[in-house]
């Protein structure tokens, strides 16, 4: 241990606990009122906002999907016309990928990574707040376009030349392009937060080989974000520059040496890792839920971590398999086919480790585990059609058909949404202090499982029968009517399932059974504090003695003392061993992240119409940045507020007995 960190036996009285609690709460909680709400930099406040916002976008995109299914339920239907249909599928896909899946996964990481590594906040609290606001700006921008009936209509990947200035005049595609920039800034911010928090702020004793698997998954995902997102930001910025009047670059204009295929390369260099950016956190949920409900430690911790890292590396070498229908050289086709098949190996390792864990345990079939079961089944099916698509001859036949639609919904909904619902049921008690209803949970699961398969399984056959993606209607002679009707009925069942979930949340939030600190008897540190956690997370920062922090405490582990309770101070530990290293004072709440996000959001929105928005917007951004950096760890206002405030913070609830604070 580093000189300066002193191990002691200390007598800590209950009164002392109360005093520490009061001081920490005054230091860490946000100011009351609307301004305090807007200024907050607490990772839990921001993550919950992210989760709720991303869920609302999930609902909006789901409504669009339902409208499309109504249109396709019967041949030659006239429910929505071709133009609106184009906007709907574009906004549906874009929302699900950029506004729901990635932000949702990062949000759950931003909530639980600091708790799981045993610290009080993410490393850069203000940046985190900025990330959320700029994401919100991106989402509003996309839906503003749709509600004005000028939503993007060129598909979620906006291929040129269709999306270029020649074939998509007007501003539709620009809404898409600038939304990408805003949401990807947010994704990158989240990634930097998560990596730094894990590298520098882990609990003493949480060496690399003891990091919880969910945290590993978030670190690996964050690294993927860092190397993948710049590609899509460049692709969409090239596109916007090509389209913008008076800029008119020629990146994708073949007449001037530009190249349409370049767009596909850059887009998919992001787009394929994106799949794993969504999937890897979901495997983190699964690796967290399974040991808790199998009542045993995870089987194969090391292979699971290595599988995550391998997936991340191989994930960057597959992108051309989205382009098999373009003139790719033979050698390239073989290379990317091989890579696409190899990536099944780490996924297989994970699946076998999970099965082995369940096999050797005593599974406790609660709702979270049910969702995990659904995940394994559906994801494996999606993986099988993936192996088929990895082969070039099959891919050429079914390219752009409903077979592909079926495949990626099996992989993405199976691989990400099923574990996500499992995670909601698993962590809801930590968020709210109350359990979700089990019976409604079972109903939620079975409706979703049945509805999902009803919707997407027939699409395999439809695709093989030649039904192409993105058509707004078809003639009766094709014979596709019955299976499309079946799929539309399935979509209705999914809708019922989601309504069941919302009902469950609304009822349980107020009337669910009280959860207590650790209702599932789980092993990770987020369960070592109150539900919901106090503003400062842990009364004394914990230390850990094993991979399963709460299961491996034969004796009560030492706690960290000596950090300031009057400043927002946390402990930084070393990167590998997580030995105590130095103290780190965090900045206080601030309104400037919101103002900067506003400046950035307006800049890119106005940048849709005029290039001068960028230099002018940069000046406004600078105006927000200067006070952001200039204001120190505490603003004057916060200091006076604190001085004025009577020392009447809430008392510690009785369940917070010192013996549980480990």
């Amino acid at each position: 241990m580093k000189a300066g960190a002193v191990a002691r036996e200390a007598v800590i009285s209950a009164e002392e606990d109360q005093r520490v609690h009061r001081e920490l709460d005054l230091t860490w909680r946000r100011r009351p009122g609307l301004l305090g709400w807007l200024e907050t930099t607490n990772h839990k406040d921001i993550a919950i906002r992210y989760i709720i916002t991303a869920f609302i976008f999930f609902l909006l995109a789901g409504i669009l999907a339902a409208l499309m299914r109504i249109q396709l339920a019967f041949p030659e239907n006239h429910f929505i016309g071709p133009d609106l249909y184009n906007q709907f599928f574009t906004v549906h896909g874009t929302t699900m990928m950029f506004l729901f899946a990635v932000p949702m996964m990062e949000a759950i990481g931003l909530y639980f990574v600091p708790l799981m590594v045993g610290t009080r906040n993410v490393s850069f609290p203000r940046l985190n707040a900025f990330g959320y606001y700029v994401y919100l700006a991106g989402g509003i921008l996309l839906y503003a376009g749709l509600f004005l009936n000028i939503g993007p209509d060129t598909g979620w990947f906006s291929y040129v030349p269709l999306a270029g200035p020649q074939f998509s005049p007007g501003k539709r595609v620009d809404f898409w392009a600038q939304m990408i920039t805003l949401t990807e800034i947010a994704a990158l911010v989240g990634a930097v937060e998560i990596i730094t928090t894990v590298f520098k702020q882990r609990a003493v004793g949480m060496s690399l080989n003891r990091i919880p698997l969910f945290v590993w998954a978030m670190v690996v995902q964050s690294f993927m974000v860092i190397f993948a997102m710049p590609a899509v930001m460049l692709a969409s910025s090239y596109l916007a520059a090509d389209r913008l009047a008076h800029v008119n670059t020629h990146f994708f204009n073949p007449a001037e040496g530009g190249d349409a295929l370049l767009y596909q390369h850059i887009f998919w260099f992001f787009g394929h890792p994106e799949v794993y950016i969504i999937f890897i956190p979901a495997t983190g949920f699964v690796s967290t839920i399974i040991p808790t409900f199998a009542r045993r430690k995870i089987f194969g911790y090391t292979p699971l971590v290595l599988a995550l890292i391998t997936t991340a590396f191989i994930g960057f070498g597959l992108w051309v398999h989205h382009m098999f229908a373009t003139p790719v050289p033979d050698l390239g086709q073989s290379f990317f086919t091989a890579a696409s098949m190899i990536i099944a190996i780490p996924s297989g390792i994970q699946i076998f480790c999970w099965i082995a864990t369940l096999w050797g345990g005593k599974p406790w079939l609660k709702t979270p585990l049910l969702w995990v079961g659904g995940f394994v089944l559906i994801f494996v099916l999606g993986g099988l059609s993936g192996i088929m698509l990895a082969s070039v001859p099959i891919d050429l036949q079914v390219h752009d058909t409903y077979f592909v639609v079926a495949h990626f919904h099996y992989v993405l909904i199976g691989g990400a949404v099923f574990p996500l619902f499992g995670a909601f049921y698993y962590w809801f008690p930590k968020w709210t202090g109350r359990m979700l209803s089990e019976s409604l949970g079972q109903l939620n699961f079975w409706l979703f499982f049945i509805g999902f398969n009803l919707t997407f399984f027939p699409m395999h056959t439809l695709g093989l029968h030649g039904m192409t993606r993105r058509i707004y209607t078809y003639v009766p002679e094709t014979g596709w009517g019955q299976m499309n009707l079946l799929a539309s009925i399935g979509a209705g069942v999914i809708g019922l399932s989601v309504l069941t979930f919302i009902t469950n949340v609304l009822i349980s939030r107020k009337r669910g059974a009280l959860a207590g600190d650790n209702p599932w008897g789980a092993s990770t540190l987020e369960w070592a504090t109150l539900s919901p956690p106090p503003s400062y997370n842990f009364l004394y920062l914990p230390t850990v003695h094993g991979r399963d922090a709460l299961w491996d405490q034969a004796v009560i582990s030492p706690v960290i003392t000596g950090l300031s309770t009057e400043k927002r101070e946390v402990l930084n530990t070393t990167m590998l061993e997580a030995a105590p290293d130095h103290r780190y004072e965090m900045v206080g709440d601030s309104i400037y992240p919101l103002l900067l996000a506003l400046a950035v959001g307006l800049t890119f929105t106005c940048g849709i119409f005029n290039a001068w928005a960028f230099p002018i917007g940069a000046l406004f951004a600078l105006l927000a940045l200067i006070p952001w950096f200039w204001s120190g760890t505490e603003t004057k206002k916060q200091q006076t507020d604190k001085a004025d405030k009577p020392q009447s913070a809430l008392d510690l609830p009785p369940s917070f007995a010192p013996s549980e604070i480990t």
């Binding site: 800029v247 008119n248 670059t249 850059i266 230390t543 103290r583």
Partner: protein, 213 residues
């Protein structure tokens, strides 16, 4: 209810770290990883476009006088190359000075970086002129301008950051937090200089090395 508990008292640990052990250093390094990825894709774009032209850079046959090899102006490019590396070098001196908490030297060398940074920004506009193309002439021009503009943005950010720090330190003095910030900003400037070495080579020597297909 009192209880004896094992504790680890960390009150004697340093209140901050000046080097890669501090979170902001890691955060900055990750930011630079993001930016490096972006430049890598810009370079890939440049190379990709090379395959679409017979001659590189594309000859200006529609202009008078006809220019068969309109390569960027090496003189101004090279001059700015030296200025940019100079700005990074002064930041190295500021970095060293901040380790000694030598406030006057930190102010002096950071000031030199700001001055050289501003000069580099002015010269960058001369470089735009020296490309002999407008960004909307063809794909070659678009990517060359894009690389120059993206690097310019980092110069601007570096100068703004340094100016703000200069103002703060001269007003409030050099505490350990701001010494750390000087060091992190120095890393940013090293990166601005280092990344410009390959980018400069590609933009200015590419037209000669990749001239023939």
């Amino acid at each position: 209810m009192s209880e004896t508990r094992s504790t680890i008292d960390v009150s004697e640990l340093a209140p901050s770290a000046l080097d890669h052990r501090s979170p902001i250093w890691i955060g900055n390094a990750l930011l630079l990883a993001i930016e490096t990825t972006m430049f890598a894709i810009l370079v890939a774009t440049y190379m990709y476009f090379r395959g679409n032209f017979h001659d590189w850079p594309p000859p200006q046959v529609n202009y008078q006088p006809i220019n068969l090899h309109p390569s960027p102006d090496l003189v101004w490019g090279f001059l700015n190359f030296i200025v940019i590396l100079g700005a990074a070098f002064f930041m190295l001196l500021a970095d060293r000075a901040s380790l000694r908490f030598d406030k006057p030297s930190v102010l002096r060398w950071t000031g030199c970086t700001v001055a050289f940074g501003l000069l580099a920004i002015v010269l960058r506009f001369r470089e735009f002129h020296g490309t002999q193309f407008r960004w909307d002439d063809n794909a070659y021009a678009s990517i060359v301008w894009a690389i120059l503009v993206m690097h310019l943005l980092h110069l601007l950010v570096g100068v703004c950051e340094d100016s703000l720090m200069l103002a703060y330190i001269s007003k409030y003095g050099l505490d350990d937090k701001h010494a750390r910030d000087v060091r992190v900003t120095a890393v940013y400037w090293y990166w601005i200089g280092l990344i410009w070495i390959p980018l400069f080579a590609i933009i200015y020597f590419g037209p000669y090395l990749l001239k023939m297909r």
